[in-house]
Amino acid sequence: MKIKELVEKYSLKELTKIYQPEREISGGYSGDLLSDVIANAKKDNIWITMQTHLNIVAVATLKEIAVIVIVMNKEVPPETLKKAEEEQITILKTELTSFQISGKTYPEIL
């Protein structure tokens, strides 16, 4: 599934620009502990998290995560979005919980 298709299908809110709308998402990881994500997430994953601190951008950059999805409509600090724009990391938001959005996207992104 491409990033732009993900945004449309699950009505995700765009917090940053969508940097690579045509990029194919391959697999995903749900997690809020950065050491866990840095150890286990893979390139081109969707990363589902409730973590909004700006360090998520460094983690996503290092792991070449395709897109970050923030759950439960959590507020994302402006410095995180600024950093994401510098590194061209797409951040999206949903009102769903990690469990719900992981379950919904799982069959199509796995």
Partner: protein, 158 residues
């Protein structure tokens, strides 16, 4: 250790403790350099994990540190030397799940107690020495021709 002649690349970074704004930037720079040089992605993957975990340990606990990043034909070396509180019990710090992180750090997603174990798991050479109230030195070596095998690692506790 490799002599200076065999160095392909060397860069020194300064990392400031408590600077969460730039946290991870040294690791991102290291990764970008490795990509530019054309190091295989599975090696970059492991270097990134090691570098990020070590950098975040400094941001969280130390006052200041240097990262000496070098590439030789055989391996990538990351040497972190910090001034800080040091690690009281290295053996305990190496245990998965053990952490001295504050609740604030945990709220930011740190303090899983996986930092040093992650570094050990993803490196080929790993040495740590620490002195309480003085600082910690970390040596991380990752061989370029090796892929994902993690055996034959050495650890020295000084």
């Amino acid at each position: 250790m490799n002599n200076e002649q065999s160095l392909i690349y060397n860069q020194l970074f300064e990392i400031k403790g408590g600077n969460f704004i730039d946290a991870g930037s040294a690791s991102v720079n290291v990764k970008k350099t490795l990509k530019l040089i054309g190091i295989p992605s599975e090696i970059i993957y492991r270097v990134s994990i090691c570098c990020y975990e070590a950098e975040m340990n400094i941001i969280m606990y130390a006052y200041r540190a240097t990262l000496d990043f070098s590439i030789t034909p055989d391996k990538i070396v990351l040497k972190f030397n910090d001034e800080g509180p040091g690690i009281k019990d290295i053996e305990l710090a190496m245990k998965e799940g053990y952490s001295t992180a504050t609740s604030e750090m945990r709220e930011m997603g740190f303090g899983a107690g996986m930092g040093l174990p992650n570094i050990k798991m993803n490196s080929d050479e790993f040495y740590i020495e620490s002195e309480e109230n003085k600082g910690t030195n970390l040596f991380i070596g990752i061989f370029i021709d090796r892929k994902t095998d993690n055996h034959d690692k050495s650890e020295e506790i000084a």
